[in-house]
Symmetry: C2
Subunit: 284 residues, 2 copies
């Protein structure tokens, strides 16, 4: 894949990493960043994540061949629809948001003729923010989910797949709904649980935390605004995942209350088996 102008809307950790990876791999002739604060654009420029930056969405996306939106999911639909009126036919629009159904359904069928849109979600990131934490190898060996609906054009899907592969990622195609149900379990529920654990820590016990507590709650350091939007956009799937979590929690509680070592062992062994079976991907 070779892109003329790649525009990244939102040059934070993910957007900045896309810019660095695209440069590293020679994917685009020109990398343009759209931001909301000049300081962020300046930082992305200094890091080499973009060649040029602008605060003007219209100027940023005009003439782009590929536009990737790396902004919080809460305002993403409106942003993509607005940007779509500034681009030419043949432009591919995609994103990096953590929820897909609300977004994809909100954009589909509302774009100008010839403008393609395909939803994406690279399963890579960090609780950190901003271009200072961008990493050109962030996507290497990671999985990006690209969404397909009955309305998705085959050529646009191929182009989106090629885009993420060019950044070093593996790609899996799923429906937006399947994505959201899966991520509710693998990402949104863990965040909710981590926030619950962190939220009930009394200040008197801060000194008595060790790495167990810190790892288990690490994601709770993520941006509350961002995660509030994710929770709201995926509330039904998240509530379903939460119900499953509470059922298992109830099993633990009953085993504890009844001092049933055999049940506790079964529960702990199943968790141990599943957790030790996960790929030991140690990157972001």
């Amino acid at each position: 894949m070779q892109i003329g102008t790649l525009t990244i809307v939102g040059v934070g950790l993910i957007g900045g990493s896309i810019g660095l990876a695209a440069r590293r791999r020679g994917l685009a002739s020109r990398i343009r960043g759209v931001g909301w604060k000049q300081t962020t654009l300046d930082e992305a420029l200094a890091r080499g994540a973009i060649d040029e930056g602008t605060l003007d969405l219209k100027a940023g996306v005009a003439g782009a061949d590929v536009v990737v939106f790396c902004t919080p999911v809460a305002g993403l639909v409106e942003q993509v629809l607005t940007a779509s009126t500034y681009v030419s036919a043949g432009t591919l629009l995609t994103d990096a948001g953590s929820t897909k159904a609300v977004f994809v359904r909100g954009v589909e069928g509302r774009l100008p003729a010839g403008v393609d849109f395909v939803g994406s979600h690279p399963l890579a990131g960090s609780e950190k923010r901003g271009p200072a934490h961008a990493d050109g190898q962030l996507f290497e060996g990671r999985l990006t989910i690209v969404t397909r609906t009955p309305q998705t054009a085959a050529a646009a899907l191929e182009r989106t797949t090629a885009f993420w592969q060019a950044l070093g990622s593996r790609v899996r195609v799923m429906s937006p709904e399947d994505h959201d149900a899966a991520l509710a379990v693998t990402s949104h529920l863990p965040h909710l649980v981590a926030a619950t654990l962190a939220g009930i820590l009394p200040s008197t016990l801060v000194d008595l935390t060790a790495t167990g507590f810190r790892d288990t709650t690490r994601v709770a350091a993520g941006d509350p605004n961002l995660w509030c939007g994710i929770f709201q956009q995926n509330r039904e799937a998240l509530l379903t995942a939460l119900t499953r979590f509470r059922e298992r929690l109830q099993q633990f509680q009953e085993a504890l209350e009844g001092d049933q070592a055999d049940v506790l062992m079964e529960l702990l062994e199943e968790a141990h088996r599943i957790r030790t079976g996960l790929p030991s991907n140690t990157g972001h």
Copy 2:
């Protein structure tokens, strides 16, 4: 502090790390390991964590000046009581177990005259096991809790404190009950929650986990036997912590069900504030 013979009962990750730290800091003239498998003793010897190893508890503790028990909490009381009959007056017995009340109360008042016992818990460790993962710097900058009860001799408390400080640790003195209530929140509840999350992951979603899921569930890779014993010994404090956790989880659920962005934001912001306020200790 200077010890003649230091005996470490159980030369796994914690016991092996004590041996390496003691050697590194010249704390003991002789470091003896007691194990249950010759291969583990051989590995600890090869790592330099001990000078000599034995499978015989009696031979291992005879003549020791300090004995530290680094074995699972489940059989610890019996082990300490047995060992106490083989040591001389003036010997200090301590441990590294994750629960304290059951253990300390089970040992106190049942030791031969002149044999001192003080409970300890270094807040350092890993989900890994065995002397291969031992680390002579494991305790540096970490906190070790040393327990005091009305029966604890002041000199023994001082000696135990000096022992952990000599290994590089900071020390805080608490009652066994206060320790258990605190660790229920900072360690045992996070383990239970991580095991709950890991335990409900369907195999079809393994590929869709990223570092968020992996970090949140890391501790669930810990030894089920070890953790079953910890849960059982600290079940009351753990159930109290679990109740508090479930109340907060309920608040999250109701805010999601009612799509109350303001409540979600409050909960996420509190968690964010607490989590980002934790010391960024990145060691074990």
